[in-house]
Amino acid sequence: MTEAPMLTVENVSKRFGSKGDFIARGLAAIGLAKPRPQVLAVDDVSFVLNRGEVLGVVGESGCGKSTLGRMIAGLLEPSEGTILVDGEARGARVAKRDEPGKAPRALDLQMIFQDPFSSLNPRKRVTDLIGEAPRVHRIVDRDGLERYVADLMERCGIDPAYRDRFAHQFSGGQRQRIGIARALAVKPEILVCDEAVSALDVSIQAQIINLFMDLRDEFGLTYVFISHDLGVVEHIADRILVMYLGRIVESGPAAEIFTDPQHPYSRALIEGVPRLDRRRVVYNPIEGDIPSPLDPPKGCHFHPRCPLAQDRCRVEAPKLRRIAPGRSAACHLVPETSTVAPPVAKESTEWPVTKTG
């Protein structure tokens, strides 16, 4: 028997804002009322994630990466499509009664948030922040609770002597550790990290990244790692989804995408990242702002900013298609075969970053 993928996301879309009822739509149609704005925050996203893999989701503001993460974590219902965890739909998993001593399987997915200041209850002590969920779900009994919480705190690098403190008595990095310990307390299989290290200082960020990697090795955790920081994602992820205005524009193994991005947007994004080894760079960035998700451009969403855009790109939205084993891209100009060089404009436009002597 082959093992089911840990996480299967099939044709998931999310709309915010409703079209309104029959009367509202009627009024809008005859011009008596403004049509209600609707945002397609996530547009037909599919992927499969195996146990122990780290998926990096990257993109800029408004690309739908956080919405996707929230749907995976079960905080938002998808408008369309299904999300299967370990081969089962989430609805079925919540209903299932599990044997005592084991976590209900709905807890398999836990989320770690960006802001460790607002994601911890300021009126609870650390021992309750971490210990409440496992106690309620009977993962650990009352006698073992203290030991359990202390172990978790120690594992995540917080001194168990601080168990009776409140969240505000800790620094940002320590708070993020508490958030991680809280997520681990219910023995999850998948951690969804939404910008989990973005608010931290560089030296603290490195400590938390190391903790994530150790935990993966120790517990075989699967991660969905959402970040706008490509350096961090490149470091930690096995596979990458690049999103732009709700759609996946490119996906594939991290090592390949970062060395040889195919979609013009991925290239601009990856080559625009400042790096320690690139000095006195002459920046030559892609022009224009990110369009409003309320009114995305027709055809390929990226065409108004794309240096290679052609007439076709303005009318026809490119489908996400396979371009090499394990790799897909949504661009009309990316060739089908694997080893062909990325698309190049006729008069060889310089790509975003060029180094000068």
Partner: protein
Amino acid sequence: MTHVLELRNLDTSFFTEGGELRALQGVSLTVGSGEILGLVGESGSGKSLTGFSINGLISPPGRVVGGEVLLHGENVLDLSREAMRRIRGQNIAMIFQDPMMTLNPVLRVETQMRDALAAHLSLSRAEARARSIAALDEVGIPSPEERLRAYPHQLSGGMRQRVAIAIALLHQPDLIIADEPTTALDVTIQGQILALVQRLCRERGTALIWITHDLAVVAGIADRIAVMYAGRLVEVGPVDDVLDNPAHPYTAGLMDSVPSRGRRGRRLNQIPGRMPALTSLPEGCAFRPRCSRATDACRAPQELHDIGPARKVRCIHPLTEATA
């Protein structure tokens, strides 16, 4: 050689009920015309405070208690409030992290730019408008005439930051202090702002202090780099020298903490612990408790000393030995 700005042993303290907090201790720096200096450090290192101290923006309970801020050789700390006000905005401009904070949300862009001009010049409405349009055009804002009518909330984050930069440039300052101006922006927009600032500095010979926590950004635009830790400079030097051969263990630790190409999936060499609070600074080297090279000698006060041409480090066990 004359510098646009020279800091000599700048000390800034905050006087609180708990006693004096020494937020900046003996900060000495220079920036030349057309030069970009990257001032790097983590939260609480004093990098932003250095910018505020230069500009005379420290308010009680804080005070600049010692040292000199020499702008073209003249100590601005000796100036009266009124004289300082004339320098601020005209000779020294500042760009902040959050343009929503620097722009007034209830005034149109035009009004704000006119006010900034009127602070130092007496211009007619039409002249002010013409200069505003020219400034917006220069920072790459499309259709500047229309943007003048806009309120800040009608602009995107990148556009707002461009407007803030345009306002900073209105008086053609000699020195711009940019405090994390791209931290809140997306990668592609950050690239645009970096390109813009870089071009403006080169073309006009403006001196720029770029304050950031992001070493990689500094690597891309700066000529020289200054690293701060717990209110003191720990290392200063040309960007290539410092980043290729960091001398202070903290600089090296900071660089190792940045995920970079070629170390994918491996553990980062983290620095243990965190920056000490100003209320409990360790004696001697402030980095000592986190440093693997620390010895008893590090308990003595450390001086910033030369270890090469234009390079200084505050460490008695530097990773790079002095070069002739």
